[in-house]
Amino acid sequence: MKKTDTHTLHKETGLEEGPLPPKESRTQEFWRLLRKNRLALAGLIIFVFFFSIALAGLVLTSGNKPVFDPAMVRLQEKLRPPLSHPHLEAISSEETPTLGIYLCGTDDLGRDVFSRMLQGAWVSLTVGFVAVGIAVLIGIVLGGISGYFGRNPVRVDHILVACIVFVGAGLLIGGVFLAGVGLLCIGCAYVLFQRWWKKVGGQSATPLIRLFSAETFSVDTLIMRLVDIMLCFPVFFLILTVVALLPASMYNIMIVIGLTSWMGTTRFVRAELLSLREQDFVTAAKALGVSDWRIIFRHMIPNAMAPVLVSATIGIASAILIEAGLSFLGFGVPPPHATWGNVLSDGKRFIFDAPWLTFIPGFAILIVVLAFNLFGEGLRDILNPKLRERY
């Protein structure tokens, strides 16, 4: 804005200084509100604490000679209670725990529970973050398409190409290489042909082409029906089925949890984009000739992040719970690796003799999940001005 403009603006608004900037920046306001919401603040502090423990756990328990060895078996030292000292005469010098004391006791194989908990913290953290990351990514892309391009119709040729590509990919995976590659090539060729056709601007009205470009339903309908379909599956049962059928690995669990929990994010993003689409800054961006994808990801999504952040935080909590549940049922991360779920699951047989094997991982899961939930709910209140008055 030029100087003369500001001057006239001062006159128009009737203020000496013109419109003032807000007294506090967004971050300052955020911190002020967060400090008032004590539960959310506690959640954040626990979360940061957990994060550093998990990082420390990764560093201290991995490698050839880890500082805390979670897999060291000492059969003569099994089921020692927490804070007990090792019998130094019964074990060799490299078997003594690093701290000189079993901080959280030992399990039925004499492994140090403290080291196993350290190792498990990293598993919980990565499962939570990667699963939610996948879910949020899918949610933002699908929700963005559905909210922004929602009114565009899907044409018959789109459906046909999608079918051809899908069948081709299926055949390729199924082992029929020639037919699969052929179908994929046909699909790609058609897409290229379409681009060229659009550029040339060819208009001809043969009935076949008219049939191909007949409009069926909107993109929005397609994506929302997909969400409906996914919501029909009983989630935990579906995850359990897939994890049981696939080879056991940590990455499969993350991917499966991520692929089954993107529906909420999609709906939030779509709803936000539907209202943002009508706002002036989007029209301005369009008038400037900004490309559609840049408008979506650079201009609209950042404005739609608030509900996504909230649901992601709570999603991490539920992903950690799901992973613990899977480990408990014996379908989690495969055995030599410790997770909180399988420490608890191994310890449940000794619940009367060695209750710490149940209670230490149980409370660890509870506290971390609680922290994420409290922080997520606090975020919801802080980021949504409408809720502030009421709660």
Partner: protein, 319 residues
Amino acid sequence: MLSFIGRSIIQKIITLFFVMVISFLIIHLAPGEPSQVDPLNPKFTPEMVERFRSAFHLDKPLHVQFVYFYRDLFTGKSVSWKDNEPVLKKIGERFLNSLPLFILATILTWTLAFPIGIRSAIARGGVYDRSATFFSYLFYSIPGFFFAYILILLVVNTFHVPVIGMKTFGFGDVSVLRTVMDRVWHLLLPSVLGATVGIAVLSRYVRSQMLEVEGQDYVRTAKAKGLPSEQVHYKHALRNALLPFVTMFGLMLPGLIGGSVIIESIFSWPGMGRMAFEAILARDYPIILSVNFISAVLVLAGTFISDVLYMVVDPRIRL
């Protein structure tokens, strides 16, 4: 209204078809085959595997298998691969076992969540409200299996009653009262566990609905004209806050079959969830797919019922 019902039924049938296709593909495209479950079993000779494969159409292409499977399911002829029992009969038996759990858990949820939520909305910001909020988060976050073990320890150590299973084994000829009490004790813990998350979520929801309504002008008017506070809260506010909960009756339906895999396996409760879990372990595809299909039907029926109920209850909604 009729056109809405017709449209949504057609939509739901299409959705159901895709659910059928996707669940079928997930199961059959996963690596491994049910005929290879137990390679060490000496009875599993190659001829047996071949017979097994042809008996269950496993040698046919996928789309043919799909048609065969759902034809068998709809005509009630599909059998479990594990023990050759009809799938529907098996599911029916297990369903009857899960039903008492579901009913008791639902009653507990709805009778406890409402008073808690209403009271914390009325006494907003007070000690009661804050502790109720904290405890609802706590119960929402507690892993079910961990809570189950805490409860088992508590009950077994203080009351000295057995709680695992549906009833005490070999409890034949004792008085009727003892038998009934035994059944109640066995029923109580799993249903309390099933209800905790529900109570936590529902009481928060009741609270926010009540707060929404308490802020309305007509409640202020009712207070201003000097009505006793019970009448304001329960007659003017609560009745209006109840609307959204009508729809939740519909959304409860899927809980009928979902059961809880974890809780039922901890308590050795022979219900739906545990059957599904055993079916997964044994790769008993007909059972897995049927449970999946029925629960999808229940989800769709539930959303349909809740839409219709909402239209009936709230004249402002015209879809």
